[in-house]
């Protein structure tokens, strides 16, 4: 290739790059970007500096039962453990009985950890705790369709603080009652 030709090629590359650059700037922040491709599940739309605050109607929370042990919606755990212990056992039994007697009532079990350790590992640990509570509920009268689980790991602490007292309050499963009942069979 002659230097002349190579020069021309450089010019073309530069011009193309420039037009790409301009195009990219013009296309900045669309009002609502379409989903790029079919997603595995329902697609969520986003925009430039998008906000992700979709409230899922089916997941609205309710106060839930409050009598006796049912007033307690929290089950606590030891460090790096998913074993339900002490009063937690009685709390879970009370909710299992309630769910067994109210077949259209739904709960979401939210598993949490303290801040120690890596974040995604803690997601796994929080899920393990939520599953431990789920299994205990199922064994004592609740039905599978009544229960969903989510793990927030260390992302949503109940209390701030970085000592054992705070950590003990953050290692928990929250039994969250949902407003929308199960559809009748």
């Amino acid at each position: 290739m002659t230097e002349e030709a190579s020069m021309r090629r450089v010019m073309i590359v530069l011009l193309v790059a420039a037009s790409v650059a301009l195009g990219a700037c013009a296309a900045k922040r669309p009002a609502a970007a379409p989903p790029a491709a079919p997603a595995a599940n329902e697609a969520v739309q986003g925009s430039g500096a998008g906000s992700a605050n979709a409230a899922a109607g089916a997941d609205e929370e309710a106060a839930g039962p409050q009598a006796g042990l049912l007033a307690t919606h929290l089950v606590y755990f030891d460090f790096d453990s998913s074993e339900i212990k002490g009063t937690g056992t009685d709390v879970v039994a009370a909710h299992a009985k309630f769910l067994g007697g109210h077949a259209d009532t739904r709960v979401r079990l939210e598993g949490h950890t303290d801040e120690r350790g890596s974040r995604e590992y803690n997601i796994g640990l929080g899920e393990r705790r939520a599953q431990a509570v789920r299994r205990a509920l199922l064994l004592q009268g609740a039905a599978d369709a009544q229960i969903s689980t989510v793990s927030y790991g260390e992302e949503r602490p109940a209390v701030p603080g970085h000592d054992e007292a705070a950590w003990a309050k953050n290692r928990r499963v929250e039994i969250v009652y949902l407003a929308q009942p199960l559809p009748p069979k």
């Binding site: 650059a21 697609a43 986003g46 120690r116 350790g117």
Partner: protein
Amino acid sequence: MRMRPIPASQLVSGRRGLAGALALMVVGLCPTHDARAALQIEITSGVRDPVPIAIVPFARAVAADGGLDVAEVVQHDLEGSGRFRALPRERMPATPTRADEIAPAVWKGTGSDYVVVGRVTAIDNGQLAVDFDLLNTLTGARLAAQRFVGAASAVRNAAHRVSDVIYQKILGVRGAFATRIAYVAADGSPPAQRYQLIVSDADGANQHLVLESRFPLMSPSWSPDGQWLAYVSFETKHSGVYVQLVRSGERRQVSARAGVNGAPEWSPDGRKLALTLGGGGGNPDIYILDLASQELTRLTDDPAIDTEPVWAPDGHSLYFTSDRAGSAQIYRIAAQSGAHPTRITFGGSYNARPRVSPDGSQLAMVTLDNGAYRIAVQDLASGTARVLSHGRLDESPSFAPNGATLIYSERDGERGVLATVSTDGLTGLRLKAPQGEVREPAWGPFSP
């Protein structure tokens, strides 16, 4: 869009100088950064004998450059690396802006081994050119002379590229100043929490809000081409993995299956994500998701927590965290499913969240060290590990694309801040948000 370098060789010959002029048309960072307060930098450690260098204020022919002090950005970059010491401006004997105006002996007399001069000039089409020269004061040799061209908004990027060239010419390692980081910022307490996914320059400046949510955002991961981020969002009150084009904001959900959807990490070829899925039974295992076909391949099947996958640079194997032996440790598995995982870490009771160095030789991780969670680097050939950080709750290490530095998060009192440490442990700095906490930094790739 970034500034394109034009090598010095193209500037000196007349004909190639034309190429430099033509390159004026190219590039320019789109002016997209939010007017949000930049992270504040605090240098925490440096080498004992940093390289003395004088970075003379650049000549500025125009007001169109937004008043950016290029020399100051370069000085912050180089001093922030912990390996350079800049001559204070009040001690400069002169203010040359071109190589032929430099009297090397005079600068040698200030104790500077190197001197940098440069200028920002307006050229056609509202574009700016940033030129600089790097001289050795002992020999008078010109080590670098380069021009970067772009829009006024790209001058900061050009300054980082000047830093990259100086770092490489003097230390022999490619600089990573003209790169970006992604991180999560969190503010407020329940139920008024606010989570943000932010992209900024590697020095914390030039911030761009990618996504904001009332529900947790986690685990940002860059695509190898630096165009996309994968991350976890709980916006549906359930975990989901999303991929998002940083420039346009276009996004899509790629996994919201029952149970855990977490820890996405892009494959080196950009076509797949490794991720953690819990399934209805709730036990987290490692999977590979082909982004084009949506095809899912299961990589591990164990009652333990298997999570935090990361690819080796060659794409043939992955490292991940598992508590299958009773406590969290790091394992390696072939990317072709079915193979048995090999345990990699044996020192201590807790090793998690692996990241592989760009050359594949080292593993960064979180390790439990005398009751504190710290960042360690393990040499994969010898198995020797070194603890590099000194906090109590250090986490989320991420390698710079040149492999010379790690960025991670640590706790500074009540707040989460970002910190860096060189992989030799000698230098470090801290990046603090003016309010709230910042965490989970992910260092992006080199830009083209």
